[in-house]
Amino acid sequence: MSAERLRAGVDIGGTFTDLLVVDEQTGACWVGKTLTTPGDPSLAVREGLHDVLAQARLPAEALSTVIHGTTLVTNALLERKGDRTALVTTKGFRDAVEIAREHRYDMYDIFLDLPRPLAPRHLRFEVDERLLADGTVYRPVNPEAVRALAGRLRAAGVEAVAICFLHAYQNPAPERLVRDLLAEQLPGVRFSISSEVAGEIREYERTSTTLANVYVQRIMERYLDRIQGELVQLGSRATLLIMLLSGGIATVETARRLPVRLVESGPAAGALAAAHAGRLIGRPNLLSFDMGGTTAKACLIEHGRPFVTAEFEVDRVYRFKKGSGLPIRAPSIEMIEIGAGGGSIARVDQFGLVKVGPDSAGAQPGPACYGRGGDRPTVTDADLLLGYLDPAFFLGGRMLLDRGAAERAIDSHVGWPLGLSTVEAAWAIHQLVNENMAAAARMHAVERGKDVRAFPLFAFGGAGPVHAYRVAQILGLREIICPFAAGVGSTVGFLAAPLAFDFVRSHYGVLDRLDWAAVDALYAEMEAEGRRLLAAAGVPRDQITVERTADMRLFGQAHQIAVPIPNVPLSPSLYETTLAAFEGEYTKLYKRTCPGVAVEALTWRTTVSGPRPEFVLRPREARGKGDKP
């Protein structure tokens, strides 16, 4: 038995911390579920690992890697528990982050609220410097003024500083200079600069991302230290790796530097788990459907992987309303999340229509049938009355469900107002939540220009399998796949993800007269950095893969589409193939292209990845149900 052969995936969720440990050699696996310890989440990790290792009868030394996802960043942002953070920006622009896009995300709601910037106005400071749109210096930084600013920052007691200058995506030098000058004067303060965190055009989105990054940096550092400490205490020398919302995994070093890329890594892991299972069973195209207590997530998997997009939103004022949150520019797995889970509450609205969610009864008081004081009917209550759930075998029999309470809640809030019997009302709730999820999944698919009917449904999460059949029926899907241990399904994703780093550089050019040499140099630079990081993490050189895309559009358009770029030295001879690749992607999305318009390229992206771990789970607890997921 070799010393280090276990890989562990750990997902810290709102209620439960889920664990999956796999023996790389045999495929044997062990599952753990323990209550999350919100005060110090690392405690639950240690406890969970301890239990699972006991099950496996293996010592902690046998752990080679622990791959981890957390909602810590999301929660720190939602609860505004980050550092006292200041913004330092170009003179005249300290309010860019508050003026935002001058937009209401709901046309008719005049009582809506907008997300609050992470740095209040009195902690937003300006430097009299200026770049032009092409990155040339219009007004240089005055070092004396920056030293004076350090005094004001110290007086204000700030713990973290985001630096975001106009057009820094074209020229990072002024941001770096100011960071270095301030850091000299302000030991112990964390800094993030926009050109490193999100080097892309559009000042509001870039500033918002940079602020969020530095706002949670200290929390993340402490937390990673604790987890590493717990591993040491267990006697493990395992490498700790962190899942990103892009679905890549990264070293602790990256997580410390770019914590904002860890937002929502749990759902990302779920999508990866689906992709992994799909590859194993010869279904590279899947609709991943992950339904938990509060939300349902749908994500298309194509060619064995989910689609990665460039922006994400956190801390939505209205949780599921697009535009009500803080924008984060970071590569993220594109999925749709709606307020439809087992705990979603049903009611009848003013037009006499049944509505389900997005508000949830959560774990406390929970659905009426939990018997913990909840009196509002939920999806779980409906599922129970319709016979989908066994009242005597919920959570494996650890929790008894109260049928009477479910009946009373459904009768009084849905059945009676609509003149429906209990079962009819339960059916209405069940079917409506299915419709909502199906509509969301379909919208997600059509946004990508895909016909969802071509995809098998891969259902997991606490409530996923219960609803899978009807959702598949509504969507017209022909196949449903439920994995072993569906309730901790997303942990598989941690173990299935390759170590990967994403890079992005802006360089504008019209395609037919592009400076290919300059672009080639950018790619070389990004790739070298990625290879360096992977080498440092122990990935052999010959197992590294590099993937390139570029953001392009028709000349004069404002939004870009992602176009694959071949992984070869770039020269003008690539013009024709690149143009053809663009046109192919474009017509897929928008039906018609516009005749006779040039193509322009703006942003160049690279992902440098290590090998994708391939493993087959051999569940020990699920004997008799087949040993494949």
Binding site: K91, G92, F93, R94, D95, A96, E98, I99, A100, R101, E102, H103, R104, D106, M107, Y108, D109, I110, F111, D113, P120, R121, H122, L132, A133, Y138, L166, H167, I201, R202, E203, Y204, Q350, F351, G352, L353, V354, K355, A428, Q431, L432, E435, N436, A439, M443, V446, E447, G476, L554, G556, Q557, A558, H559, L589, Y590, K591, R592, T593, C594, V597
Partner: protein
């Protein structure tokens, strides 16, 4: 399955309805993502809708702007007057920018596509975009007649049986300043309707639906019922309001009488100023659009917007007044006046339902249109929208620098600078611009712009109002700061804080007139703040403290308007505050 929906159950209806919304959302997303003009792609100045074969609006995307949606709502009948339904064929696409039949000015072009299934007309999909250019004068309020404002495209085919109307494209390309962007956007609009139509047919196939009319009837009937219920909750009566605007060359009065009787409402603009000699006149369509929008925001934000929700409301304005202008009145800048109408209605309704309305805000978008040349001789044209503060709400502060009633976005400084030789000197919130109240109006902002990438003067067309008529507060709330606008020669005067060094080098042109600007001149715009709601002396001193700390309110105004006094360390001086507030109250009541 759904051949006769005479009795459609709530569950099925909800499913169908969600699907229809998803279809139009997809149509809108395709348009925004593939559009060329920044007004569409960055600002989202579009709308997309689905109509039943009779031309009734049934669903609209949850994006876009009310001036488009509601004025498009009843446009299909105009198209059908010209091209009878039975003459339309698959592949036909119709277009117009007739201000009186759709959205009130030439720049807003409507593209409508009849959708066929097995050669049977099943629906129309339509969308409106603000195009980058339409010929004539650059977009401005200056015209004296409609003919100066650009190319008039009467209801015409843009595509016939799938083939582009080459003659029309030729005329368009020859007349507009940015033919690539204009043609590109027309293609994007056409493609967006295709996307919507394709999804609708999939939807109908899936449910074996022969017609959307039964579904439309059900949605319309329910919306009408809900709207009537909402109106019935307003006490009967006649509620009047009057607003004064700067106008172009003379003040404009908007007079409104809102009459509520049972479950019906009439809104009459009798007493409103006559048409202007400049391009700020509003067509009746657009007047109806923003009036209905204002009513819906206040009384029934949840009710779907369609034919049914319009039925219980009757809107009238005397022909020839500025809100019901007649051809050939110039109309390019009609949004300036039209976007005040929700506030006209709210100012009347506050007498009946004070908890459902918001105080006056900045209202009309402060559009800024620039036309000129880069240093290297390339032409540029740049339009973006700027918004001042919204009025305070009865239970919370107004939003700072947020578009209302329009639904558009601002444009990033970095995008403007990357596409034009302009430089933003600052875009920052205006201290003391939010009207004091128990709840404060939203502040506006300073926007200062100059030219850096050009050595030639360029043309600047402003669309500003409220420079003489600040946003009024409600129920004791005080007005917000009025708008400010001047040109400053910074090469001679000192560079300082906007608004503080108006010396002899300041020019104050008409806030709606096109001017030529030297590159080094700074254009200084102070966007208006929103009005307050409730007595400022009743504002929580802690909120006043936060506002002072954040420099949204100065210490002087905190003392004068709110009666709150602070020490050096920004702690409220409780005794002095109480004394001052008591004194003010007594003074006021005597």
């Amino acid at each position: 399955m759904v051949k006769a929906l005479s009795h459609i159950d709530p569950l099925t209806l909800e499913v169908f309805w969600s699907r229809l919304i998803a279809v139009v959302n997809e149509q809108a997303a395709a348009l925004i993502r593939s559009a060329f003009s920044p007004t569409v792609a960055e600002a989202g100045d579009i709308s997309s809708c689905a109509f039943d074969p009779r031309g009734y609006l049934i669903a609209q995307a949850v994006t876009g702007t009310p001036g488009h949606i509601n004025s498009m709502a009843r446009c299909i009948r105009h198209f059908l007057d010209v091209y009878a339904a039975e003459t339309l064929a698959p592949g036909d696409v119709l277009i117009t920018n007739d201000p009186w039949k759709t959205s009130g000015h030439f720049h807003d072009v409507t593209v409508v596509t009849p959708i066929f299934r097995d050669r049977q007309l099943v629906a129309f999909f339509g969308n409106i975009c603000h195009l980058a250019d339409i010929g004539g004068r650059p977009f401005s309020a200056d015209a004296r007649e409609l003919y100066e404002e650009g190319l008039f495209i009467p209801i015409t085919k843009l595509f016939a049986g799938g083939a582009p109307n080459e003659e029309l494209f030729k005329i368009l390309q020859a007349n507009v300043r940015e033919p690539e962007a204009v043609v590109g956007d027309l293609y994007a609009m056409t493609a967006a309707n295709d996307v919507g139509g394709e999804r609708l047919i999939e939807f109908m196939d899936e449910f074996a639906m022969e017609s959307v009319i039964p579904l439309a009837d059900e949605v319309i009937a329910r919306s009408e019922r809900a709207m009537r219920e909402a109106i019935a909750r307003v006490p009967d009566g006649v509620y009047r309001n009057e607003l004064t605007m700067d106008g172009y060359d003379q003040p404009v009065t908007l007079a409104v009488a809102v009459t509520v009787r049972g479950d019906e409402m009439t809104v009459d603009y009798d007493g409103t100023s006559p048409m202007s000699g400049y391009g700020i006149n509003v067509v009746m369509n657009y007047t109806e659009a923003y009036t209905t929008y204002g009513i819906k925001c206040a009384l029934a934000p949840e009710v779907p917007n369609n034919e049914g929700s319009f039925r219980p409301v009757t809107i009238t304005a005397p022909p020839g007044c500025i809100l019901n202008c007649l051809p050939p009145a110039p109309v390019a800048a009609r949004h300036i006046v039209g976007q005040w109408l929700p506030a006209a209605v709210h100012g009347a309704l506050v007498q009946a339902v004070p908890d459902r309305v918001i105080a006056e805000g900045s209202l009309n978008l402060w559009n800024t249109q620039f036309n000129g040349y880069h240093a290297d001789g390339r032409r540029f044209s740049m339009l973006f929208f700027n918004s001042g503060g919204m009025g305070a709400r009865p239970n919370k502060d107004g939003l700072s620098s947020t578009a209302f009633p329009s639904g558009v976005h601002g444009t990033p400084a970095e995008i403007v600078e990357a596409r034009s030789p302009l430089m933003f000197v600052k875009r920052e919130l205006r201290t003391d611009s939010g009207g004091p109240g128990t709840y404060r109006g939203g502040p506006g902002h300073w926007l200062v712009i100059k030219g850096v990438g050009t050595d030639k003067p360029y043309r600047f067309s402003p669309f500003f109002d409220r420079t003489n008529n600040p946003a009024r507060g409600y129920n004791g709330g005080l007005p917000g700061a009025p708008g400010a606008y001047w040109l400053q020669r910074v090469d001679v005067g000192s560079v300082g804080v906007a608004g503080q060094d108006e010396g002899s080098f300041v020019e104050r042109p008409n806030p709606k007139a096109t001017v030529w600007v030297e590159p080094e001149t700074e254009i200084v715009m102070g966007l208006p703040g929103g009005g307050g709601f409730g007595d400022p002396l009743a504002r929580d001193p802690e909120l006043v403290r936060a506002d002072v700390q954040n420099e949204l309110v100065s210490r002087e105004r905190a003392r004068e308007d709110y009666g709150v006094v602070f020490d050096e360390l920004l702690n409220a001086d409780v005794a002095e505050t109480e004394r001052l507030r008591a004194e003010r109250s007594t003074h006021r009541s005597s």
